[in-house]
């Protein structure tokens, strides 16, 4: 019998036809849209005089540029307001479900999809956003697309892409204290580089991955794109089913049992072949932080910034340019560096478990005087839970500022910008130049590390602080 990977099984069952010497016509089960990458797609549909083929397969929410204060008022920024209004208009016109600003299920698109149970194993899911890979945590093929492809999905429920190569990353072993799934993914990217998985779709496997909660798995799949991968996925298991059971859009009653029986078939066959395999030892992973301007530039917090030894040519020039931007020198320790801002939020780490872990560690403590601390829930649902569980009170008592849901300072499209030259330790996904505001210097880390930084005011190893 043919041995297939999970990726093969899902991909192959969604191919409408294969174009000879070309891409596959690939059917999309679920499509998420937001205000930034969809307006031109709708505009082009109008120009072509065509409509939306399956409006019931698309779900929208405004997240990228929305303000995180006064969401009940009119958006002040004219261009942001126009984009959000355009999304409303388009969803209404074509009959697309919209979770609008202020509604019960508003939030970051990659937070609300799983939360509502829209995201399910075996599905193909796309969105005009590269962190769509988040949904792969459920054993779905999920990836980011461009606006031309958003238009294709709206018009035909298909896109045209060649099948990616297959990679498996296995992590066995027990994780140490203070090590989170964010540290796992930062560790992997540091090992294989920011382009190390370009051209591949990654399956994460091994006992260290299996032991993680759904939210922790989402953090890992979310950052697959940061090593260049088309996407990442994890085979569904009891953890997945338990998470989905009872969710609004999950199957109910008899349909649930039938669907779970199908979901249980969604795994890589023993002996299936990957184009590339990596195996890492979970016990070698420690709290991580980035020091440069791409997510591959990460080290253990207790470590030193790499020297230029062995680097040459454009590689060395790019490396030094990156350190210059960050205001760091090769070879120096990262621990103890002064920090100005901390940000807890984003589709990577803006879920309730992230907020719980920060609250548990800062409870009864105060943030350092030099730190501005922002906490931005990934959705209204997360915000509600944080209030109900008393986490908001703990965080506000510690000096954190709670804002309303949205992408916020992860990409600083709204007013949540880190000022030029300032250092931010962030739970988000990208440390590119200017990502959190022009001239801002971003260091990526786990929510636990961010909590340690908030309290000490400097880059700190959470294991030594708490």
């Amino acid at each position: 019998m043919e041995k297939n990977t999970l990726f093969d099984k899902i991909w192959d069952s969604h191919v409408v036809r294969s174009v000879p010497n070309g891409p596959d016509v690939f059917f999309i089960d679920k499509h998420f849209i937001h205000e930034v990458t969809s307006p031109v797609a709708f505009l082009n549909l109008e120009k072509r005089g065509i409509g939306v083929l399956h409006p019931d397969r698309t779900v929208g929410t405004p997240d990228h540029n929305v303000p995180t204060v006064d969401q009940d008022k009119t958006i002040k920024d004219k261009l942001s307001r126009m984009q959000v209004e355009k999304l409303r208009e388009n969803c209404k016109k074509y009959g697309i479900e919209l979770h609008d600003l202020g509604s019960d299920h508003h939030g970051i698109v990659h937070v609300i999809g799983p939360e509502l149970g829209i995201t399910q194993p075996g599905m193909t899911i796309v969105c005009g956003d590269s962190h769509t890979s988040t949904h792969g945590a459920f054993g779905a093929i999920a990836f980011g697309i461009g606006t031309s492809e958003v238009e294709m999905v709206l018009a035909t429920q298909c896109i045209m892409q060649t099948k990616a190569k297959k990679m498996r990353i296995t992590i066995d072993g027990t994780l140490g204290a203070g090590v989170t799934s964010k540290d796992i993914i930062l560790y992997i990217i540091a090992k294989i580089s920011a382009a190390g998985a370009t051209g591949y779709f990654v399956e994460y496997a091994g006992s260290a991955i299996r032991s993680l909660s759904m939210e922790a798995r989402m953090t890992i799949c979310n950052m697959s794109i940061e090593m260049g991968a088309r996407g990442g996925l994890i085979a569904p298991d009891e953890t997945t089913f338990a998470y989905l059971k009872g969710k609004q859009y999950a199957p109910k009653g008899e349909a649930w049992d039938k669907t779970v029986a199908y979901w249980k078939t969604l795994k890589t066959d023993e002996g299936a072949v990957f184009d590339k395999e990596y195996t890492f030892d979970g016990t070698d992973i420690e709290p991580m932080i980035t020091y440069g301007t791409n997510p591959g530039m990460g080290i253990k917090i207790k470590g030193n910034i790499p020297t230029t030894e062995g680097m040459e040519g454009s590689n060395k020039i790019s490396y030094l340019k990156s350190l210059e931007y960050m205001g760091f020198a090769p070879g120096e320790p990262i621990k103890g560096k002064k920090v100005d801002y901390v940000f807890v939020g984003s589709c990577t780490n803006g879920r309730i478990e992230d907020i719980r872990s920060v609250a548990a560690f800062v409870k009864g403590k105060q943030k350092a005087a030099n730190i501005t601390a922002w906490i931005v829930p990934g959705s209204r649902e997360v915000e509600k839970m944080a209030h109900e569980e008393g986490l908001v009170k703990i965080l506000e008592d510690a000096g954190f500022e709670l804002r309303q849901p949205g992408c916020s300072a992860c990409l600083a499209m709204n007013d949540d910008k880190i000022p030029s030259g300032k250092y931010a330790v962030s739970t988000s996904n990208r440390n590119f130049e200017g990502r959190q505001g022009p001239g801002a210097r971003t260091l990526l880390a786990s929510p636990l590390t961010v909590a340690a930084v908030a309290v000490t005011g400097v880059i700190a190893d959470p294991r030594e602080v708490f």
Partner: protein, 196 residues
């Protein structure tokens, strides 16, 4: 939407030797707020091109009158990060029709092909040859022949072949996009959707 047909492009080259140029550099998020596809070229490489007051930074290659052309030559891992197609719109709108690099990020490459910018992947060695040639003579011309899948440095005749699948090649040559194709097989897609 339809774009200009691509056959043979002969042009001088704008060199940008940086590695890992992500789409946040190509166009920062704060310039993604338009609801129409217009004027993105003005903000191409915004924060590398202008200072905070909006004055051009002289040292950046797009502000250097020595260099011009329809071909952008860049270091490896070009277009990583965000899936924003706005990055390619900005490149196209500025006047580039081809980007040449030894390594492209996946989504960026797809986006290029969908709107008529040709991504040309060459070996690191040939990239070095081109960077040196342009440094020595900014007027050096490069020819990209999509039909022959060949890129040539005209002054020396040094050349290399590049990959593109025949489907995308025909699209580029004719200015077609994927929607044209998909709309033509509507019934087949409907039948497939029926069974899902």
């Amino acid at each position: 939407m339809a774009y200009d047909k691509f056959n043979i492009l002969t042009s001088t080259v704008v060199p940008l030797p940086a590695e890992n140029v992500d789409t946040d550099q190509i166009i920062p998020a704060r310039f993604l707020k338009a609801t129409e596809r217009e004027g993105f070229g003005d903000n191409l490489f915004r924060d590398w091109r202008y200072d905070v007051e909006g004055n051009p930074k002289k040292e950046f290659v797009l502000n250097d009158p020595t260099y011009s052309g329809k071909i952008l030559l860049s270091g490896k891992n070009f277009g990583s990060g965000s899936s924003r197609e706005h990055a390619v719109w900005a490149i196209y709108d500025y006047g580039f029709r081809a980007v040449v690099s030894s390594f492209f990020a996946d989504i960026f490459k797809n986006n290029c092909l969908n709107i008529g910018v040709l991504p040309v992947t060459i070996s690191p060695e040939f990239a070095e040859v081109l960077f040196k040639a342009v440094e020595a003579d900014p007027k050096a011309e490069v020819e990209i022949d999509i039909d022959k899948q060949k890129i040539t440095l005209l002054s020396t005749g040094a050349s290399e072949s590049f990959d593109i699948n025949s489907y995308k090649k025909e699209n580029m040559k004719n200015g077609f996009d994927d929607i044209d194709y998909l709309l033509n097989i509507k019934e087949e897609i409907a039948a497939f959707a029926e069974n899902r």
